[in-house]
């Protein structure tokens, strides 16, 4: 074992030892920036219990069907250190103690693995299926190696009408099923409300409708092709996911994007944050019937989207990030344009925010709606603006910085009131912080190459990356197979963590406030369902 400091990580290792969780610590270079710790399958649940007591945040779980057998990895974070726990299931064993009793966030991701790999989690509080509807049978696991990409079902897929929703009983309780096809231009998903009068007693989300087999169809792709697919995990986060995937692949290959490319990636990512936050601010206004805000913010967003087209050649910035660097550049002319747009947007925001701030009907609907307490946000591990509106300060750009953010002054605005209003204002503050970051990057833009030459990684090389997408922390794990092909791709959108928060913060609100509560979280369906 390597030497251990007395930081949170060292402390956790000591606790593991005293709890009898057998571990093997890998060299820090195995999968940077994360630490890798191998655990005996029997200690999987105990490890989570110990980590939870040490206040580690649970970030995600993924499995792999390797030639050596089934492997499960869980990712935790504490004080800016990512820790990956890994366990190998012995031949013939396909069950593992669940971590869900200790971490709420683990509930659905473990059920997802159960559906995709056929690994059963013992003592799981609610082991019903999750991502599986009716496209494949119960005893078949799409992410196993012997499962063909095309699947084996030739008949049309029947609707999923047997999912066991929680039922409320009693006088005057009624149920409202919503979706999967919603009454707007939105992604599909199902919400099952139990209500009394107008008050929501219970809300259960049913997702998985847009499951497109992203992880399976990623296998065998080359790096460029994976970057394209990653850019379509969630269309509004195309920069975020492409960046995470490229960073993970670059780490596996042992290369680094040139400094200019890193700055350009930063600019693309912050621009993505700006357009999405503008859109959300407008959409939040729209969901409480304040058309003025909707149209004004929509106007500003369109201006920035057009700037994207003019400066980088794509309105949503798809396919601008490629393995090794970027596929776009900044000329002095476009840099000047961008600066002017930043100044103009600030002025517009000053005007609009004064108007919005003085509007009592807006305040009436936002204040107190959809309350998520800081304690609950922490227990759920909420990330991004949902976490930061409830006092959770974590931001990858600041806490586990990656290029170019190591060279920048990153300000992470916070709110702690935890309601729709907080999530509105924290977005506005983030927007302002984004503009400053953009200016910093324009000022400090280094000269040089745009793409680093690609090195073909050895078979089995693995890479891990965490980047701060506009919704929050995006994680990505990549393992290469032979001949520069992808063996395993696991993206984790922040929505996976934040969806359960919506269930909680909707409770006790009236049904008509659900749209604005939902929009205030704005989790991605596609990024969740994969």
């Amino acid at each position: 074992m390597t030497t251990r400091g007395i930081d949170g990580f060292g402390l956790l290792c000591e606790k593991f030892e005293s709890q009898g969780v057998a571990t093997r610590l890998y060299h820090p270079d195995q999968i940077p920036p994360a630490r890798l710790l191998e655990i005996n399958p029997a200690g999987w649940g105990k490890a989570a219990e110990t980590a939870q007591l040490q206040q580690w945040r649970w970030c995600g779980v993924w499995a792999e069907d390797l030639e050596a057998g089934l492997t499960v990895n869980a990712c935790l974070e504490h004080q800016g250190i990512y820790l990956i726990l890994r366990t190998h299931l012995p031949d013939g064993q396909n069950s593992l103690p669940s971590q869900a009793p200790h971490y709420w966030a683990a509930d659905r991701p473990e059920r997802n693995i159960q559906d995709m790999f056929g690994i059963r989690f013992e003592d799981h509080p609610d082991p019903k299926r999750w991502v599986r509807h009716q496209a494949w049978p119960e005893d078949v696991y799409p992410l196993r190696r012997d499962f063909p990409v095309a699947g084996r079902q030739t008949e049309p897929t029947p609707p999923d009408s047997t999912y066991p929703f929680l039922k409320a009983h009693g006088a005057s309780v009624y149920e409202i099923p919503v979706g999967p096809v919603h009454a707007g231009i939105i992604e599909p998903g199902h919400f099952r409300f139990q209500a009394i009068g107008e008050t929501v007693l219970h809300l259960e989300e049913r997702l998985g409708y847009v499951h497109k087999g992203v992880e399976k169809i990623a296998e065998g792709r080359d790096p460029s092709s994976l970057a394209r697919l990653a850019g379509r995990v969630s269309g509004d986060t195309t920069v975020g996911h492409a960046w995470a995937a490229c960073l993970a692949m670059e780490r596996a290959a042992g290369i680094e994007a040139p400094p200019r490319a890193a700055f350009l990636r930063g600019i693309l990512a912050e621009r993505e944050r700006v357009i999405n936050h503008l859109w959300d601010l407008g959409a939040l206004c729209n969901d409480v019937g304040f058309a003025f805000g909707y149209y004004q913010f929509g106007r500003l967003r369109e201006l920035w989207v057009r700037e994207n087209q003019a400066c980088f050649g794509h309105r949503l910035l798809m396919d601008r990030i490629v393995p090794g660097g970027v596929a776009c550049d900044l000329t002095p002319d476009t840099a000047k344009r961008m600066r002017q747009a930043i100044v103009a947007l600030r002025k517009e925001l000053d005007e609009l925010i004064t108007i919005l701030d003085g509007n009592s009907s807006l305040e009436d609907r936002f204040l107190g709606a959809g309350f998520l307490s800081p304690e609950l946000a922490s227990a759920l591990g909420a990330v991004g603006f949902v976490g930061r509106a409830s006092g959770q300060s974590f931001d990858v750009r600041k806490d586990v910085p990656y290029p170019p953010y190591q060279q920048l002054k990153v300000r992470v605005p916070m709110e702690d009131q935890g309601d729709v209003s907080s999530r509105f204002w924290v977005r506005h503050k983030e927007l302002r912080a984004c503009l400053r970051l953009l200016e910093q990057m324009l000022d400090g833009m280094p000269a040089g190459e745009l793409v680093a030459p690609w090195l073909i990684p050895d078979a089995d090389s693995e890479g891990f990356a965490a980047v701060e997408g506009w919704r929050g922390e995006i994680l990505c794990f990549v393992r290469f197979g032979t001949d520069n092909t992808i063996g395993r791709y696991w993206p984790r959108d922040p929505s996976v963590i934040n969806w359960p928060a919506l269930e909680k913060l909707t409770l006790g609100n009236i049904v008509p406030d659900f749209p604005v509560c939902n929009k205030s979280v704005n989790a991605s369906y596609s990024g969740h369902d994969l």
Partner: protein
């Protein structure tokens, strides 16, 4: 409140004239051709007013962003009599983005059946048109046309609001 009205006044009218359709590349031409054939029929049946029900049947949400943009002040699609409705029962057109995930297959069929005849289906985006980056797999049926009959396709990843407008206008006969 005065500030609000002042801002509206200052912002003024931003809605843009649609540039003349230019069949620059083949994709545009295809839209033009199919659109032209449909134009006469739609003129007669829908009297130039079109109600659209948008169905995301498995999209990455990129197409939805651009469809949303049709409602912003620059494109203002309602000026052409085109509006988005909340129910397939009210719709003349289903605007479907894909690829159609197998988990949405039944819901898409039901939505199609729930839409009153005569109706048109517009497949939007590369994925809806041909399966795009996702293709056909255990989880995806690929193109919208593999599940329900399609009358018009608007390719692009995602198609720009202008491409969407041009496609739709050719459909409702106002271009």
């Amino acid at each position: 409140m005065l500030r609000l009205y002042f801002k509206i006044f200052k912002t003024g009218m931003l809605t843009e004239k649609l540039p003349k359709a230019k069949p620059a590349h083949e994709a545009d031409q295809a839209v033009e051709q199919i659109g032209h054939a449909l134009k006469t029929v739609v003129d007669r049946r829908f009297r130039g007013s079109l109600a659209i029900r948008q169905v995301d049947a498995g999209s990455c949400n990129g197409c939805e962003l651009e469809i949303h943009a049709l409602n912003n002040v620059y494109y203002d699609i309602e000026r052409f009599g085109v509006h988005f409705v909340a129910s397939p029962r009210h719709a003349d057109v289903l605007m479907v983005t894909g690829p159609v995930s197998r988990h949405m297959e039944a819901a898409l069929r039901h939505t199609y059946e729930a839409t009153a005849d005569p109706k048109w289906v517009v497949a939007v985006g590369d994925c809806g048109v041909c399966g795009g980056e996702f293709g056909v797999s255990y989880a995806s049926c690929g193109a919208v046309g593999n599940v329900i009959p399609v009358d018009l396709t608007i390719p692009g990843c995602p198609p720009t609001p202008q491409a969407l407008l041009q496609g739709l206008l050719s459909l409702c006969g106002r271009s």
